[in-house]
């Protein structure tokens, strides 16, 4: 049941359509993001939300839908939702309620999902995203709403084709999800990815969700269509909801693919939004294509109605204010702080901030301590992040404390350690969990006095007359060879001092 052909492909209209270029069309994208809230227990019962436990071990009479069992709201989930809403500039509802979304599925034990239909906990808001485009201007993506709901369980089907029994694991049933719905404000696949990255970063910062996509803690559906200029008109193609997007890359690629597909389909059949119902298509990672799942017309009537087992939730201003007052700085605030107060380039600030709050705090402490934010950024943005990446550690596990790191950078800034020696010291500090002083001692680093330096330089000049001549004939860069040799002769010789002294001696 692929798209029906209304117009013959050889009609004059179709020839006109073939004249339109894909690049002239505009992609319109809206996202629906499901985020698992980082609560210890489920949304309506006390069961643990831990991932990866034995099947059906994290269940009780409530989340398995036993007759007579009743739901009780997890206050923590409300708090985290409010926190997320505030961070996305959403209006927080003062009164919200629970609705039942009725449908049959074996991993939905009650035959309905408890969700929020017409009074979501978070109303309209927005999120500004940085795009990689040259303009460097933030794009504002409006949030339509964010509502709380319980997750379903997991069906495990036998895929051997031998008609084995399907299995159901209800451990995930009832874990709290916040569904965040954007307005169709996103215009490129890259923006969609940028939106998700920023959303994930924010939710990490405010401890609302770890957004671990492998564990399904962040799931995304994308609504996509095209606006195509056609003669004097602007044609909108039928809207497609793409499901099963379980990585940022899948989001980006599926949108790119789907836009192209819709364009070609329109060239072929000329169908517009007015001619065809909303479709659901699934993203296939293997084939890198979307395939038709169902037309929205066939979709169930969910028969939403207020859940009579739960009372409406009243949210007091004081509660919102309290949550707001505990809210820490968001990534955008910190980027601004690093750029404006610490004079980092915006790209550098983004790198630090994207590592999470821990790295930002580490940077701030070191930058304040050594009073040189550029050096702090160079060392943390490169050395520390590389080491963390290699050892697969978090900043909290990093063996060098911000104070020790500050002490190290002070020595570098003072010239006591050059860059290279400094990195050797850092490596020793990381390897043996020792202070800079201990590392310096271990590496046998000691200052070289002026007399030693003079005799070192004299020896270099004597032994390398050819290089000296090169320098004298105007090849200034050749001095680097001498500095390299100096390091071999005495690793403690400061390259800067060696260079200055050599230059002086050669020119005179």
């Amino acid at each position: 049941m692929e798209d029906t052909v209304l117009n013959p492909t050889s009609s004059p209209q179709s020839n006109n359509r073939r004249a339109v270029r894909f690049d002239d069309s505009q992609i319109i994208i809206g996202l629906e993001v499901h985020v698992q809230l980082d609560t210890d227990s489920k949304l309506f019962c006390g069961c643990s939300t831990r991932f990866g436990e034995a099947a059906n071990s994290q269940t009780c009479v409530v989340c398995t839908g036993m007759p007579g069992a009743l739901p009780v709201i997890n206050e923590r989930a409300l708090e985290l939702s409010i926190r997320a809403g505030l961070s996305l500039n959403c209006q927080i509802a003062r009164s919200t309620k629970w609705d039942r979304k009725n449908y049959f599925y074996p991993d939905l034990p009650k035959g309905y999902q408890i969700s929020q239909f017409d009074q979501p906990i978070c109303g309209p808001g927005h999120l500004d995203i940085e795009t990689s485009e040259a303009t460097d201007q933030a794009r504002r993506i409006r949030i339509e709403r964010a509502h709380l709901e319980e997750d379903a369980g997991k069906s495990i089907h036998d895929e051997s084709g031998r008609r084995q029994d399907s299995k159901i694991d209800l451990n995930r049933t009832g874990t709290p999800l916040l569904e965040i719905v954007t307005q169709p404000d996103i215009r490129t696949a890259a923006e969609a990815k940028a939106f998700l990255s920023e959303l994930k970063l924010i939710l990490n910062y405010i401890d609302v969700s770890d957004c671990n996509m492998q564990q399904g803690n962040l799931r995304c559906d994308a609504n996509v269509n095209l606006h195509i200029p056609f003669g004097d008109e602007q044609i909108a193609t039928p809207i497609v909801e793409i499901k099963n997007l379980n990585s940022f890359r899948a989001v980006e690629r599926s949108i790119t693919h789907e836009a192209q597909r819709q364009f070609e389909a329109w060239q072929e059949n000329g169908l517009t939004i007015a001619d065809a119902p909303k479709q659901t298509r699934g993203w296939n990672d293997h084939t890198q294509t979307t395939t038709l799942q169902r037309e929205k017309e066939d979709s169930a009537d969910y028969r939403y109605f207020p859940d009579p087992d739960l009372i409406a939730v009243k949210i007091e201003d004081s509660q919102i204010q309290q949550i707001e007052s505990q809210l820490e700085q968001l990534p955008a605030d910190l980027r601004k702080l690093l750029a404006e107060q610490y004079n980092l380039k915006s790209a550098d600030a983004s790198v630090i901030v994207s590592q999470g709050r821990g790295v930002v705090d580490y940077f701030l402490e070191v930058a304040d301590g050594c009073e040189d934010s550029k050096i702090a950024n160079n060392w943390i943005g490169q050395e520390v992040l590389r080491q963390l990446n290699e050892s697969n550690q978090t900043i909290e596990q990093y063996p060098v404390s911000p104070q020790q790191f500050t002490d190290l950078l002070k020595l570098v800034i003072a010239g006591t350690l050059d860059q290279t020696r400094g990195k050797e010291v850092l490596n020793a500090m990381v390897a043996d969990c020792i202070s800079p002083e201990e590392a310096i001692k271990q590496l046998g680093i000691k200052p070289v006095d002026n007399n030693e330096l003079v005799s070192l330089c004299e020896k270099l000049i004597d032994e390398n007359q050819d290089v000296v001549e090169q320098i004298q004939s105007g090849n200034g860069k050749a001095i680097g060879m001498l500095i390299g040799k100096a390091r071999k002769m005495n690793p403690n010789a400061n390259p800067g001092l060696v260079k200055a002294m050599l230059a002086k001696m050669i020119s005179t």
Binding site: M66, P67, G68, G111, P308, D309, L310
Partner: protein, 490 residues
Amino acid sequence: MTLSALNADVIVDQLNAGEVTATDCVQHFLDRIQVHNAELNAFIRVSESALEQAEAIDQRRKAGESLGCLAGLPIAIKDGICVSGQPTTAGSKMLENFSPPYDATIVERLKSADAIIIGKTNMDEFAMGSSTENSFFGPTNNPWATNRVPGGSSGGSAACVAARLAPVAIGSDTGGSIRQPASFCGITGLKPSYGRVSRYGLIAFASSLDQIGPMTRTAKESALLMSVIAGFDPRDSTSSKEQVSDFLTSLETPLAGLRIGVCRDHLNEGLDVEVKTKINDAISVFKQLGANIEEIELPQTKSAIAAYYIIAPCEASSNLARYDGVRYTFRAQANDLEEMYRNTRGQGFGDEVKQRIMLGTYALSSGYYEAYYLKASKVRRMIKQDYDEAFKKVDLILGPTTPTPAFKLGQHTQDPLAMYLADIYTVSANLAGIPAISVPVEPSSTGLPIGLQLQGRAFEENTLLRAAHQFQNETLWHMASPSEPWRTQS
């Protein structure tokens, strides 16, 4: 006097005084069930462990341990209420083999008061019905006339108390399911305010209307049970934190000056002439007790049945979705998932349940929701406003519990509307969330019980119980028992 003739409070006194052992007491009622249940079908199942529990209580009493306030008292529980490890069927084939792994909150409370659950009583399937004829386990017969229905849906609980197969019982009431069978069987039945008693463990019919309550011979016994089962439960979000009053101590407070409202509309159209006469006689008793009788109006209650038969099926259609054959229920043979759903629900549910699921599904469907569910919810609010207005003028509202005494088995089974009208006076209290009690008045000339309903302000069960108790101090209708062997009546 034999144990079965005694009231629960007297039995508890005798147990406490050591005049009778819990074992003897339980054995006495088990013997009566053994003799009479075949004819009445009041119990779906008798508890196998009841005697064992009774022995344990006797042991503990002997050892001088302190015991709960109902220690050794046998109690029957409607089969729609979960008792851990005992089959709990809600009168349905769907749950024929379902044993809940947990106790309902009220069962937990009764157990910790050391009451002994003697068995599970028959009911209309999923509490949907007014005659107990919709049970998968067959109908229950009214002990006053075995060719008549005991009312429903808590017909088994009502019949077992009337026939003295248990001293007291627990029922549940969604649109009259405690009060209507209490009225038909000549006993006292209280539907508490919505939220007064935890619903945790009550197999849901219509969650916003369901309420568990006592079914007893006397108002005093109801007060005794309420003192155990009422109160806030953190596991039920809709249970109330409203202070629970001492139901027993206020029973004797005189009724002088109590304002009782009578709605004339409820005493005219469609009401059986004998019922009307007996209710008017009862009004005279309340006057003698010092109450002031005042006329009130409840204009919206005429729409109550219509609103109820939208709201209850809507909620039921969703509440019963969980019985899908996937987990603990009956499962029909099938070749694929959809067929499994169809066959399981087609074969597992009875006709009345299927009818209500279809009604509710239809009324909640997109395009109909506003016209049905939302409109019914609006009517519901107006009914509540009627009561709010009335309770500014009066403390209680008095009227008949049902328009007629018990009807015959099969009389209304082909006419759902006539069956639904049996609830005409009772559903309003559920829609408004207020408490209501049914107490026996003088029976009909043919000896069929007639019930008087008192409705009160939300969370004022004590006023209802007090008025009912003092009425029972003046009358003896509630003490009448059907004569054995049970008779039929044309």
